[in-house]
Amino acid sequence: MALDTRNETIHSMTRRTALLLPALALGSHALAQGAGPSGKPQRGGILSYAVTAEPPTYDLHQTATFAVMHRLSPHYSTLLAYEPGQYPNIIGDLAQSWTISPDLLTYTFKLHPNIKFHDGTPLTAEDVRVSYERLRNPPKGVSSFRQPSFAQIKSIEAPDPLTIVFRMVKVDASIMDTFASPWNSIFSAEKLKADPTYPVKTVMGSGPFKFVEHVAGSHWVGERFNDYFKTGKPYLDGFRAITMTPSAMVNAMAGKQIMAEFRGFTPNERDRIVKALGPDAQTHESPWMLHMLMNFNCEKKPFDDPRVRKAVSLAIDRWGGSANLSKVSQLGSIGGLVRPGSKWAASEAEMVQWPGYGRDMAANRAEAKRLLKEAGYENLSFALINRNQQPYITAGVFIIDQLRQIGVKVEDKQVEIAAWYSAQTSGNFEALLDSFTQFSDDPTNVLVKYISTDRAPDVAIQRAIDRELDSLFDRQAEMVDPVERKKLVRQFENRLLDQAYAIPILWWQRIVVMESRVQGWTMSPTHMIYQDLADIWLK
């Protein structure tokens, strides 16, 4: 959402036209083949789709995995949401309308009347207040995964059952995205009062579907909530999310045992499914708000030396990797720290100035060798902690080959996800292949990965302290003018890529395949939004 337009009264529907341009730009990137939305939505039917991982919790506030989002999103509502088909335009979800004070320090939302939780109790502004208090000041035993996003909120008030007011400490250019975050689900204040951890094990929201059952390792079932506050929705009678491995998923799609998978397939998997389904398949493609990166442990030798980190970055042929790996894996575009194609992204002319992004690989590698020699690491070897799943394995093979060409030996230590997280949190690694995704392109959301570790220990795992980066991060977070903000984002990227505490490798491409009878679903650059299934219907 354009931040320079926020100092005035905004009604969700009236802003749409003004904000249509970026959405259209996105649409030009996205490719949808096969059947698109057509005809009048029909009621009925059960949507079956696959999810590759089990949910570690039911609490959206305390996690960041799609395994939770793709099952829980249909059960919950949020204050705002991204408009289907018009990303990144923001519309109301529970909020019917809102006003923003001219100084951008007070946000007042009016809720829809007659919103009910699945147990029949009314959802009021008090539920929103208590849910947001839980997010910004989690009680004992609760960890708010995105707590820094709420740092600028001074107070939350619920003067009447339909009005909620957020007062800010200072301007936060990302706050509307925070209100639209799919993670910030609204829980029952009454139930939270009785047990602040109830959402961990109980599913009870106000979303379009009621929870029926979860059989671990097998399936998750939801049924239509007939008292859903958006009249006429949802269209489906229910949904069934089935847990299965990626290879099983391809076969299940090809055999029409499931109708969809919303995270993404590789190009080859797409081709296999499309070949099997023929005209019954539809595909959607988009650059993905998800990138592969290499984190260095900047507290340990040899990566405490910026010359060594920079040499590693210089050795990687991102242009060659992008052109070729995109044919065989989910790895795709070249970009910096913000999603290529987004309004915050650097141009190619800007990118080629960064270490490791120049197109002359011979010169890059010569410089890498020079830096290693200067740092006294001509025969550098190190272990790369990697995940034992795709496309991490593909990225590992690529990186090892690239570094071999400057004489660096890399041992690819592929481990289970638990061991990978253990290495990440303990700092017991030299280099770690990582990925990062967010629910929006907003720079504050994505740059947080690269600020000083003491500012964001859960995500900024490179164990580096750089106050210059932190200052640039804080300045862009407050900058409302998008042009000025973009300049600050660029300065942040320049600084980070010069110091190379962590280095982006490639951004992912999102390829979603589903049966053509699944209608009303919206493709977006992130797999975290548009998953409440309220608009989906079966032809």
């Binding site: 290879s247 590789t266 080859n268 998997e269 296999r272 060659g320 052109a323 070729n324 044919k327 065989v328 034992n388 795709q390 394995i393 593909t394 590992g396 093979v397 690529f398 090892i400 080959d401 690239q402 071999r404 041992e411 690819d412 230590k413 592929q414 061991a419």
Partner: protein, 289 residues
């Protein structure tokens, strides 16, 4: 010199009487030669990515084609032989030797020692060989020494131990009742001396057969574990690993990605089995006649 001549004549006789075994041995020797001389036999680095040659079909440049990273499949199969034979040979040696030692001790001692050891062996035998190896490798993780994952070697060796133990125990049970063993015992020789001098040499025939048979089994197990992502990992070349991951996705466009590694596994297992069977026939007078 006389010994060399006798060995050579024996080898010729083996080839004449056991032509299939000789064929198996020939394949094994060729594989071992390739593994040892991999750098000389191949033109490419097995881990070198070549985007210009991605998914190329068999050609004079790449006789077995290339994979999705443009890596030469022939080169990776030759280097993969090194992985397969090293892990196969080490696992079989360790498993069969430990199994044989337990089997001989168990049968010779008898009584409660035999009873306890055999019940323990029963427990291990109750696990399917792949499942047991899977559990061991998942629990132990990786310990790399000279480029070899020692834990993978032990994970494959452990399921071999009880099977080797049972066969050697059975052979020992019949030998320990032989008059020459009674005579040795009556002569006051120590248990260790009797085991090493009279028992062990007489179980060497079944032991050699086991050893060769379990090399084949170990190669297959290593391939299975690598296929399941628990054995050798990318970018190291290994036959099972070459069948896993991307290969399954490209079976239509690049069938050579699964064809040649599959053939390499089949051929090596076939060769060791042929040789093992022939060795059994050769060493057992009953079959020899």
């Amino acid at each position: 010199m006389a010994m060399l001549t006798r060995s050579f004549n024996n080898a010729l006789l083996f080839c004449r009487l056991q032509p299939l075994g000789a064929l198996g041995l020939l394949i094994i020797v060729v594989m071992a030669g390739c593994a040892v001389l991999a750098e000389q036999v191949t033109l490419y680095n097995p881990e070198a990515v070549d985007f210009g040659a991605m998914l190329s079909g068999p050609s004079s440049e790449h006789p077995f084609g290339t994979d999705s990273f443009g890596r030469d499949i022939f080169t990776r199969i030759v280097y993969g032989a090194r992985t397969a034979l090293t892990i196969g040979f080490l696992s079989s040696m360790i498993g069969c030797h430990i199994g044989a030692a337990i089997g001989i001790a168990s049968a010779y001692h008898g009584g409660w020692v035999d009873l306890l050891l055999q019940r323990f062996i029963d427990i291990i035998l109750s696990f399917p060989i792949v499942v047991l190896a899977l559990v061991v490798v998942a629990v132990m993780g990786k310990t790399m020494v000279l480029g070899i994952d020692l834990n993978l070697v032990f994970a494959i060796a452990i399921p071999i131990i009880p099977r080797s133990c049972r066969v050697i125990r059975a052979a020992t049970l019949s030998i320990r009742t032989q008059p020459y063993v009674d005579a040795a015992r009556a002569g006051g020789y120590s248990t260790v001396y009797i085991l090493l001098r009279y028992i062990a040499p007489n179980v060497i025939a079944p032991f050699l057969v086991l050893l060769t048979a379990y090399i084949a089994q170990a190669i297959l197990l290593e391939a299975s574990l690598s296929f399941l992502g628990l054995g050798v990992t990318e970018p190291k070349p290994a036959w099972g690993l070459m069948l896993a991951g991307d290969s399954a996705n490209f079976y239509n466009e690049a069938p050579w990605m699964i064809l040649f590694p599959g053939l390499a596994i089949s051929l090596s297992v076939f060769a060791f089995n042929l040789f093992g069977d022939s060795l059994r026939d050769w060493l057992d007078p009953k079959y020899r006649n």
